[in-house]
């Protein structure tokens, strides 16, 4: 715990703002899912989104890489900037944005292709590998970072869908980091994992923080406390409280945050 706290201090001192959201509102048809959220997500930091089910965590997360574009009825207002650039600017190509802002989904969703092809897909379409050997190396490195290399190294050419749920999720994490994103969005990445795999993923997140900005949605307070330096608490589409993880968990300002953390709403 002491170690964690010192890291946080260190992080805040060094890191700049990576993503800046101002006045973000999201509508699904007539229904408003996000009401005027403003937040600054720091570089080289793990930010946790917590809050009761249906409060809009996933919705807000999906705004950050414009995944909401794919939902016809979804409308996003407000201003979101990545490194100072408006990501909803018509000049920005969402494809380019998503290469920079990777995503891991709640439900493991490997392609029905081989394990190797799953991981190699991103580097291939973005032209990140110059040669076969290069690609092999990227795949191995990514699978190692996804904490799944040892389990799959002998069957790289078997289908990814043949893995267990937890293995599939780690494969998806490996696939996401293979494109070397600057920001990694994770929507409840550990909900299908056992405690050991969860610990491995958390370790991975901690490592990723050295280079990237990581945003993780989680229902586990313990996980939020373990891996994040910043925590945002959402409630009914509002960002109720945002601050240092240590402060949110020990000394929340808003009574709603306190009752959620202590288990009274949720």
């Amino acid at each position: 715990m002491m170690n964690d706290m010192s890291k946080i201090e260190q992080g805040i001192a060094v890191d700049a703002v990576k993503i800046q959201a101002r006045g973000v509102q999201v509508f699904y048809g007539e229904k408003q899912a996000i009401k005027d959220v403003s937040v600054e997500i720091l570089d080289k930091t793990v930010t946790a989104f917590i809050g009761p089910s249906g409060c809009g965590k996933s919705t807000f997360l999906r705004c950050l890489n414009r995944m909401n574009d794919t939902i016809d009825i979804c409308r996003v207002n407000g201003d979101i900037r990545l490194d100072g650039e408006d990501i909803y600017d018509p000049a920005i190509d969402p494809v380019q944005l998503r290469a920079k802002v990777g995503m891991v989904f709640q439900k493991p969703n490997p392609f029905p292709k081989s394990i190797y092809d799953n991981v190699a897909y991103g580097p291939r379409i973005h032209g990140l590998a110059r040669s076969k050997a290069d690609l092999d190396e990227i795949v191995e490195r990514s699978l190692r970072r996804g904490a799944i290399w040892d389990e799959v190294k002998d069957r790289l050419h078997e289908p990814g869908t043949g893995l267990s749920g937890g293995q599939q999720q780690r494969l998806c994490i490996a696939r996401a980091v293979a494109t070397e994103p600057e920001v990694l969005l994770m929507d409840e990445p550990c909900s299908a994992l056992d405690p050991i795999a969860t610990a491995q993923v958390e370790e991975l997140i901690d490592e990723l923080r050295l280079n990237y900005s990581v945003v993780i949605v989680t229902h586990s307070m313990q996980q939020a406390a373990r891996v994040s330096q910043k925590t945002a608490f959402f409630h009914l589409g509002n960002l109720v409280e945002y601050g240092d993880t240590g402060q949110i968990f020990t000394n929340p300002e808003d009574p709603r945050t306190e009752s959620y953390i202590t288990g009274r709403i949720g």
Binding site: M67, R98, N109, P112, G122, I125
Partner: protein
Amino acid sequence: MADLTAGPEKTPKQGNAADAVRASLTRRNRKQKLLQGLGLGAIGFAFLMLFILVASLVSSGYQAFTQTKITLEVYVDPEEIKPEKLPRGGFKDVLQASLSELLPEVDTSDRATRKALAGILSNGAQFDLRDRVVADPSLIGQTITLTVPVSDPYDQLNKGTIDRDTPEQNRRLKDHEIAWFDQLKAKGVISKPLNTGLITNADSRFPELAGLKGALIGSFWALFVCFAISFPLGIGAAIYLEEFAPRNKISDFIEVNINNLAAVPSVVFGLLALAVFIGWFGLPRSAPFVGGLTLALMTMPTIIIATRAALKAVPPSIREAALGIGASKHQVVFGHVLPLAMPGILTGTIIGLAQALGETAPLLLIGMNAFITSAPDGPFDSATALPTQIFIWADSPERGFVSRTSAAILVLLGFLVTMNAIAIYLRNKFERSW
């Protein structure tokens, strides 16, 4: 257990609830039994009908799968057939002479008798002989063994369709003709082999010679053209509508109309093809190419609908995964969605083609029911198709065409069953769990 029996006295309310459940359970079970019974009954009825259909086709059609033939020792008489006059010559007379040898007691001085005698043989026999002699003129002056079909009445007699007990004047064969045939049979020159002519011959006026070759090739070309046009166009349209088109009034309108198009009676497409392809574009009548175009019009809505359903069935998580990595829309569609939808698309396409194969009305309108005695050389040659050939034969009065009609239907059904089996095989083979 003890709890259960003690229960009702201690807490009457709970006991009532359990009783109510038990009472309703018998009712619910009875309902379920009834539903199951009705379902089974419906399936049984469907099977019975199918069985009756196939049984009646087989019982009337199996005769057409064999053909009565006669084996003759033919002396290719140089008097009648001269090398320099080929391919003309007295082939008919030569054949009749060899028949007379088999039936020496028949007096052939009278013309009518000679004609009746020659009538035992199919009209095609002389052409068989001619083709052999033309191919090898050195046969002239030799005696060759020739196995040729007998004509339809004798074929029917041999197969037992002509009843010997009917009065002579109501019979197609007179008593003495039956006697000739019996003599020939006694001499062992009559055989009843598998009727390969059913597949290898084109259509003919004479049932014993008529075959499906022209119709099979015509149907092949028509289906080929139909596939080559409707498959790429249908898939393209479906991908555009499902993946790229904006959802608005126009795309709704198009969608409704595609569904309507699938329900348009096929004869209407035939009229359209007649007016547009043949009338305006001046494409040839009776050509499988035009038939294929017409069938493509009908198959396309089926393929579009099947493709859209298959695309819709691809789980959104796969699209999200690819999009999340930074694949562009077309990479997602062509790299992930389309391959996963392919089994469904193929299944829909094969079923659409199977429908097209059995389609008759539009082909009748564009003239693919013409009487054509040679197989087409290409998609622009006049031809019939399987269903129109069935239509033609069903319309012909000769006994031999009755069994041939059933046999042709069996052949068509065989193709349809095969195509549907392929569709089911593909569906099962590529079925995935996500």
